[in-house]
């Protein structure tokens, strides 16, 4: 008797495992079937649709985002509170896979998308990252929603371009992070009677003055462990040496770096700056590099708007302990930016609820509390800049309102494809440790061809 049971349970166990292994594939099939029906499919699948359509959609929103760390968690809560206020009946299912934050967010999301089990909506940066999802066919164009909300009229044109591919907007941006900001230790600058630099030459002379007064200090802090920190500094030099048109052309792969004089000049200037940068940079993350200002080991850092939140968490008040200027402001004041955005996935289980969500994402009711906490600027330029508690973002927002075209995609928003950008960051981070101009020119030049930047970045339109 017991032996027979043993056989039965074993067979069942094996079968259930085999079935479990088959499950995702079955779901994939279902998704494909629904799509076939939409373009009028074969008669036998029509049955599936008949049972599916009369069922009212569940009020549920499955969402993937990476705002799980301190400060960002509060921003995510503010975001969901705004949504709940408008639609109290919706159940929000966040990051259903444990450990889905940050880098692992992309790993889990990639797996879910390619298995044909998409969440309703997910966080993505505008630019190259968004384009990779659009190329994969995972997002639905949102032309109707944008028209309904007249969203293109209330956000800057470059921001709309950052989420528009082949003429279709694919996501709704809710903020803009600005990359090229130089933060400085205000009391120290007052003590040494220095003005915050807005050009490369001023940066060098300020760095010299600080080094002379405080020999133990590394005037400019850098954290290049995540690699992009070094590219931030280099971007600001490129922007000044080449100007905005050059910057865009470079990352669109339209410049032959190997023979280009501007790129070489920019690298040489960067080399000139390196003695004023902390030698510990390869081991520091971005927040640790900002920490060097607080600990008094450095006086300046070039970092995005998200650093404001970090300084505040260390007890520094904007305008008192630290100040901020856009860097550089020559030949003109350009803000390098990237947005956080949400879209609607193809085959989303709850498309109607998702559209409601996207309407809220586009609204000031969500953007004001979320962006104030999380650290970027508002995507909408019709919101009063005075909503920001700090003078830094009030000033930046006012500038964007008055000059909505002075925005270009940054390293994270990435004009060039991500395959290139990742490798490019490595090359620039390596340059800080061993500044070999000719070798770096060759490396970067090769990267442009290896990763076919010209084809991959052709979608980006600026201005």
């Amino acid at each position: 008797m017991s032996k027979r049971w043993l056989i039965v349970t074993t067979v069942l166990a094996v079968l259930s495992l085999v079935l479990a292994a088959c499950q995702p594939q079955e779901v994939v099939k279902t998704v494909v079937v629904t799509q076939v029906v939409e373009v009028k499919g074969t008669p036998e699948v029509r049955e599936v649709v008949v049972t599916a359509t009369p069922k009212p959609e569940e009020r549920k929103l499955e969402i993937f985002h990476w705002w799980t760390a301190g400060g960002e968690r509060e921003a995510a809560d503010a975001m969901f509170k705004a949504f709940k206020d408008k639609y109290p009946d919706v159940e929000i299912v966040e990051n259903p896979v444990a450990g889905g934050g940050g880098v692992s967010h992309r790993v889990v999301l990639q797996a879910r998308l390619s298995a044909g089990l998409p969440p309703d909506t997910f966080q993505t940066l505008g630019g190259a990252e968004l384009k990779s999802y659009v190329d994969g066919g995972y997002l639905v164009p949102l032309d109707d929603l944008w028209a309904e909300l007249k969203y293109a009229d209330v956000i800057p044109k470059p921001l709309a371009n950052a989420v528009t591919i082949d003429g279709h907007p694919y996501t709704v941006p809710l903020n803009m992070h600005i990359q090229n900001i130089l933060y400085y230790n205000k009391p120290l600058f007052e003590e040494l009677k220095l003005t915050p630099p807005t050009t490369f030459d001023e940066l060098i002379s300020v760095a010299k003055a600080i080094k002379a007064a405080k020999p133990n200090m590394a005037p400019l802090a850098l954290g290049a462990k995540e690699k992009w920190g070094a590219a931030f500094v280099f971007d600001s030099i490129l922007l000044e040496v080449g100007g905005p048109e050059y910057y865009v052309k470079l990352y669109k792969g339209e410049i032959d770096v190997k023979t280009d004089a501007t790129f070489k000049t920019a690298l040489e200037k960067f080399k000139e700056l390196i003695p004023y940068i902390n030698t510990t940079n390869p081991g520091l993350t971005w927040d640790e590099s900002c920490g060097l200002l607080v600990s008094g080991d450095s006086a300046m850092v070039i970092m995005g708007t998200w650093a404001i939140g970090y300084f505040k968490s260390r007890g520094w008040t904007p305008g008192q302990e630290f100040g901020a200027v856009t860097f550089p402001q020559k030949p003109e004041r350009i803000l390098l930016f990237h947005p956080d955005t949400y879209g609607l996935t193809k085959g989303a289980p709850h498309p109607k609820t998702t559209m409601d969500w996207l309407r809220v994402v586009a609204s000031p009711e969500l953007q004001i509390p979320t962006d104030v906490i999380q650290g970027g600027l508002f995507a909408r330029i019709d919101i009063d800049p005075k909503e920001f508690p700090d003078p830094i973002r009030q000033e930046l927002m006012t500038y964007v309102r008055e000059n909505p075209t002075k925005l270009i995609l940054d390293q994270h928003g990435s004009i060039a494809p991500f395959s290139f950008t990742q490798a490019y960051w490595d090359a620039i981070a390596a340059f800080v440790v061993a500044p070999d101009v000719d070798a770096t020119i060759k490396t970067v030049g090769d990267l442009f061809t290896t990763y076919q930047v010209k084809e991959g970045a052709a979608w980006y339109q600026w201005p």
Binding site: K3, I7, V14, Y138, T280, N281, G283, Q422, A429
Partner: protein, 297 residues
């Protein structure tokens, strides 16, 4: 009665075959799948299984980063295994012949502790210790005036990988000592050591001429396990340097992760996986076979 026995055997067979089958499907199925993907043209977020031949392998061998990785992986294989075994051998022997009774247990616990910790924890601690300006190592050296020992550790691209390997050796030492010590403790070997002692052999001579030739099985297991651990190294690099400065401490497993999930070049990532597998096939498996042969001689 007869029938029941047969059924019982069938059941046993199923119990045995079921897991084996699943194991084979999962392991070798995935392996074949990875090899297949490495020949496809999958770049981007959407799967693309169109055959692309050696396209991504050609791109791979054209990348400087790939060759840096291969070199670093070989360094790990050599420098992660040999010093660990030699140091562990001496420590294990010293513990065996220690004149102070009872101290052995404490020392063994002490050196076994690192094994119990995750690389995430030890990696973070070591990266603090390695900090050039405020790290504990340089601070101690400066305090004692030993300025020639002050170093940039993992921030110096030339030596960074070596400092990472030091962490590995430290972490695996206790484990190696335990394995070697247990292989000392066969009655046969103990008798040989006693005989050698009676004959008046020195302690060092006993170690090299009596113990080392007779602990082949222990060494075999230890070296195999260490080879596998160093070949698949990922976490130390991820935590301490993230492959930096630049990509000077990068290893194949880390590049595989970057290529697949950051660069979205899935075919390239799969190709790197195949290369890791090939290194395992060329280095680790022949060694194990050779060691087994020697063992059974």
């Amino acid at each position: 009665m007869e029938k029941r026995t047969i059924r019982f055997r069938l059941g046993e067979t199923l119990v045995f075959l079921g897991p084996l089958l699943i194991f084979l499907i999962v392991l070798y199925g995935m392996l074949l799948w990875t090899i297949y993907v490495s020949f496809s043209d999958w770049s981007g977020t959407a799967p693309n299984f169109r055959f692309a031949g050696l396209k991504w392998y050609q791109l791979m061998v054209g990348l400087d980063r790939f060759w840096v990785d291969v070199r670093n992986n070989l360094r790990w294989l050599l420098l992660g295994v040999v010093p660990t075994v030699i140091i562990a051998l001496f420590i294990a022997y010293l513990l065996e012949i220690s004149p102070i009774r009872g101290i052995e247990g404490y020392v063994r616990t002490l050196i076994l502790y690192p094994v119990a910790m995750s690389f995430i924890v030890t990696g973070t601690i070591w990266s603090w210790m390695y900090q050039p300006d405020k790290g504990v190592l340089n601070t101690i050296f400066r305090a004692f005036g030993l300025n020639f020992l002050v170093s940039n550790y993992v921030n110096d691209p030339k030596t960074a990988t070596l400092w990472l390997i030091v962490i590995f050796i430290w972490q695996y030492l206790g484990f190696a000592v335990i394995i070697l010590q247990s292989s000392f403790r066969t009655t046969e070997l103990q008798e040989m050591v006693e005989a050698a002692t009676v004959d008046g052999a020195s302690k060092l001579r006993i170690l090299f001429d009596v113990i080392v030739p007779n602990i082949r099985s222990g060494l075999l297991v230890l070296v195999s396990l260490l080879l596998i651990s160093t070949l698949k190294v990922f976490d130390i690099v991820y935590i301490v340097t993230f492959g930096g400065p630049g990509y000077s401490t990068d290893v194949l497993a880390f590049f595989m992760f970057i290529a697949t999930f950051q660069q979205h070049l899935v075919a390239l990532g799969a190709g790197l996986g195949v290369i890791i597998f090939l290194i395992a096939f060329i280095v680790v498996i022949p060694y194990t076979l050779y060691a087994f042969q020697r063992w059974f001689e």
